[in-house]
């Protein structure tokens, strides 16, 4: 029998190793699953994780899918560090897409270089505005920001649905629930002809650097970290909690809104009934797998993006159901939470050498007899 023992101080090595261990455990479990489904695990593994990376186009797709995850994940990580839990990034992404889509459609036919920047600003503001609702309710009425931000996701989905079914529906679109295609001036430039990855990707790298600077060097970042780790110490030092909530929501909402712009002004090129396959939710996993560190979020986003793309090729080549992607995401988060235990605890085997005063199995006779005879 082994037992868990608290470490005197959290292990830095485990802190870094835990996401890798979680990823490995996810792969092993996935292989077993493939085996049970009657697929060759090696082949499935190849199709899922290697094949997407073998072509330039595949790598372009990887970066394309990683972009919204990076933008949302970095923003969420900033808030999570301060114990401000924005669960509604997908709604903020949707509202960012709506706001920038409105700009694009309003200036349809205007071929000017300011259209795209205006769309980016509108997208960020749209996401911020949607994020401001839970922030306001939390700071004014102490409402749970988790519930409010989550519920607003569905409001945003429905609002987008209303727009593409009604006012913004393309009149020449055979009644499909989607808007007109955006013009060239309202579309993000591609990084390389033939790939779909666009200028939103370098933008997301800028966001990573900005967030890294904020967390590492800005006093506001420090304040938020203290609030997350020790709320009583933050109160003692006079750090304002409402300020943290606002920073967290505006930053994550704004970045999620930008991610929305990246979708509609990128691969989609129009407003559709759904603009995100749940990037905002996957970004929660990304933020934690990335240890709430901006650079970690970057790496975790690439992994998560691979899960999306691999899931698609697994559907096509192996005829696996589409739920496989969500399943792998869930496995990853589950194993991460499990391996995180070892940051603060370690397994202590009971080896015979240390048995001077204690035997392996508790109630053998000595204590018992002594107790009974007494």
């Amino acid at each position: 029998m082994s037992r868990l023992e608290a470490r005197p101080e959290p292990s830095r090595a485990m802190m870094l190793a835990s996401p890798l261990l979680a990823a490995a455990a996810m792969l092993v479990t996935g292989s077993l699953l493939f085996l049970f489904l009657g697929k060759s695990p090696l082949h499935a593994f190849y199709v899922y994780f290697i094949q997407p990376l073998t072509s330039l186009y595949g790598i372009g797709e990887l970066l394309l899918k990683a972009t919204p995850l990076i933008l949302c994940g970095v923003g969420l990580a900033i808030g999570f560090r301060a114990n401000v839990h924005n669960i509604g990034a997908d709604g903020q992404l949707t509202m960012g897409a709506v706001a920038s889509g409105c700009v694009a459609l309003y200036f349809d036919g205007v071929n000017a270089p300011w259209v795209l920047p205006l769309m980016l600003v509108a997208g960020a503001l749209g996401g911020m505005a949607w994020a401001a609702v839970p922030a306001l309710l939390r700071t004014r009425f102490n409402t749970s920001e988790i519930l409010v931000s989550l519920m607003l996701v569905y409001v945003a989905y429905l609002f987008l649905g209303y727009l593409v079914h009604g006012p913004l529906r393309d009149p020449a679109g055979f009644n499909f629930p989607q808007s007109k295609m955006f013009g060239d001036a309202a579309t993000l430039p591609l990084l390389k002809e033939g790939l779909r990855v666009n200028a939103a990707f370098p933008l997301s790298l800028v966001a990573v650097l900005g967030a890294w600077f904020f967390c590492r060097h800005a006093f506001a970042g420090y304040r938020m970290r203290v609030s997350g780790m020790a709320p009583a110490a933050a109160l003692y030092a006079g750090f304002s909690e409402p300020k943290n909530v606002w920073i967290a929501f505006l930053a994550s909402g704004g970045l999620a809104g930008l991610a929305g712009v990246g979708e509609v002004a990128g691969p989609l090129g129009q407003l559709q009934a759904s603009v995100s396959p749940g990037y905002g939710f996957a970004a929660i996993i990304v933020a934690y797998v990335g240890r709430l560190h901006p650079l970690g979020v970057l790496l975790a986003s690439l992994l998560m993006s691979l899960l999306y793309i691999g899931g698609e090729s697994a559907q096509v080549e192996l005829q696996l159901p589409s739920a496989i992607t969500g399943l792998f995401q869930g496995l990853l988060l589950f194993y991460l939470l499990a391996t995180d235990l070892f940051i603060h605890y370690r397994i202590k085997p009971r080896h015979p050498a240390a048995l001077l005063a204690r035997p392996t199995h508790p109630p053998t006779d000595m204590t018992e007899t002594a107790a009974h005879e007494s």
Binding site: P8, L356, A357
Partner: protein, 516 residues
């Protein structure tokens, strides 16, 4: 000796990953003996007791219980042998009655109704009055401790371990507890009494085993020793001292006027009509047992909880009742809270990062420039505090949680002092700090006063308050007494006031003044 010891420990050792808590400890407790285990914090007292109570297992050594070698694997095994333990911090359910709490804690399953007569009988037998039907939340700390003691006594223990039992009691309650303990001793119960209060040990205990750094430093008869010689045995060297020179106080720096404050804690104490004047260059001590409004009063002064009216807290000539903690610090307030980890310092952050916690407000520290942290200035400040206050640590980058309680306290006190406050408020400044460090901290506080700072000290240790204060007031049941000059009062008088009984005395004196 022909009498058989009740419990004998031989060469008990226990190491934790980073520290050797006990190293070859021998201990012998006779039947009907009150045996003190003395030592500074971190000397290994608690670990030793936990091993006797089966909560921790020794790495090596033998335990002999009434002549029979035993191995104690769990607290329930210890209880079966006849060992009971009263913890320093009680684990009681506040919303349940005394009988229900005790029923939950007993190994046997007994209904609370059947237990009540037994509780009454035991509590009367040992002079520990207790109503089994009363709910715990309405009870004082002393009464709660009685619940714990009675719970142990119901199992007819032959060895009772008491871990710092008086740290939460008024002097009067301490005397009553001692009467009960002596009665238990006369019935043949052995008592292991953990404390660092030397006067109590001299008054109560028959023998003392002194621990220092995990080893037995000596076994003594406390009645034949002086408090001084015991203290020197404990710290293994000469005792440092501190002194308070008379000084005329200056203008009023902090004033509380008719402060009423409801507690945020449902079982907390509301403050009523608190009035206090604190002048530059004096130390005012607030005596009282924890839970009588100390937390609330400190939060009201520090700004962690805003007062209902702005003018009920005046700080350096400004109405500060509605200002938050940062704004009050900007006016010149320094504050050392009671909880070091999680409030005075963030455990997972380094000392440098913890220096930034309040250091960012210091005018001369230059820790911030346009919202960006200047790491160099922060590290320099932390290094200065570490050096000036002799903080034992692995440097400014060591995590706060890696420091011992006393060293972290030195760092926090040092940080607040180095920020040059005009008003300094300290809660339990030497709580859990060893004697050497305590003297250093007290001297630093006295130096502040001599430099013209107004100092407010909240402490449960009357000795400490009488050693370092110019005036003392008592906080009891959410009300604050008049502050008396130390020279015009006594430990006895303050002790009586701590039970909340100061109105009558004050009115009588007021009448005298009128008559005169």
């Amino acid at each position: 000796m022909n009498e058989q010891p009740r419990l004998e420990l031989l060469g008990i050792s226990k190491s934790y990953p980073s520290v050797v808590a006990n190293d070859g400890v021998d201990l012998r407790v006779m039947p009907g003996e009150i045996h003190a285990v003395l030592g500074e914090n971190g000397a290994g007292k608690s670990t030793l007791m936990k091993m006797i109570y089966g909560a921790v297992r020794p790495d090596a050594g033998e335990m002999v219980w009434e002549g029979r070698q035993v191995r104690i694997d769990s607290p329930s095994a210890a209880r079966r042998l006849g060992i009971g333990m009263v913890f320093q911090h009680f684990a009681l359910f506040e919303t349940l009655s005394v009988a229900e709490n005790i029923a939950l804690a007993l190994d046997e399953k007994v209904s609370p109704a059947l237990l009540s007569p037994r509780i009454r009988a035991v509590s009367e037998q040992y002079g520990l009055p207790l109503d089994p039907e009363r709910r715990v939340h309405s009870m004082s700390v002393g009464e709660r401790q009685r619940v714990e003691i009675v719970r142990c006594l119901l199992q007819s223990p032959r060895l009772l371990i008491m871990d710092e039992p008086t740290s939460v009691l008024t002097p009067d309650a301490v005397q009553r507890l001692f009467v009960s303990l002596r009665r238990l001793r006369d019935d043949g119960v052995s008592i292991l009494y953990i404390s660092h209060k030397l006067d109590e040990i001299q008054a109560l205990c028959d023998r003392a085993t002194v621990l220092r750094a995990g080893r037995v430093a000596g076994v003594a008869n406390p009645r034949e020793e002086t408090a001084h010689s015991l203290a020197e045995l404990m710290i293994g060297g000469a005792l440092p001292t501190c002194s308070l020179a008379p000084r005329a106080p200056g203008e009023v720096c902090l004033e509380l006027r008719g402060l009423d404050l409801p507690s945020l804690d449902p079982f907390g104490t509301h403050l009523e009509g608190i009035a206090l004047q604190l002048r530059a260059g004096e130390i005012v001590g607030l005596a009282g047992v924890s839970g009588n409004g100390q937390q609330e009063l400190l939060k009201a002064v520090s700004g962690e909880q805003a007062a209902p009216r702005a003018d009920s807290v005046r700080l350096l000539g400004r109405d500060a009742g509605r200002l938050d903690a940062a704004a009050r610090r900007r006016l010149g307030l320094g504050f050392v809270p009671e909880e070091r980890l999680g409030r005075g310092a963030v455990p997972a952050l380094s000392l440098a990062e913890n220096a930034l916690l309040t250091g960012y407000l210091g005018e001369s520290t230059g820790m911030l420039r346009r919202g960006v942290v200047r790491d160099k200035a922060v590290a320099g400040f932390a290094a200065r505090v570490i050096e000036r206050f002799k903080v034992k640590c692995g440097g400014a980058r060591a995590a706060a949680s890696s420091l011992s309680g006393g060293n972290l306290q030195k760092f926090i006190v040092g940080r607040e002092i180095d920020l040059a406050p005009k008003v300094m408020v300290l809660a339990q400044p030497t709580w859990g700090v060893d004697i050497g460090a305590a003297m250093l901290i007290r001297q630093a506080i006295i130096d502040l006063r001599d430099a013209g700072v107004a100092v407010l000290v909240v402490s449960e240790e009357l000795d400490e308050l009488f050693m370092m204060c110019d005036r003392i007031a008592v906080l009891a049941k959410g009300r604050l007494s008049r502050a008396l000059p130390v020279t015009e009062t006594s430990v006895q008088q303050i002790g009586v006031w701590m039970s909340g009984d100061f109105d009558a005395a004050q009115q009588a004196e007021g009448a005298n003044h009128v008559a005169a």
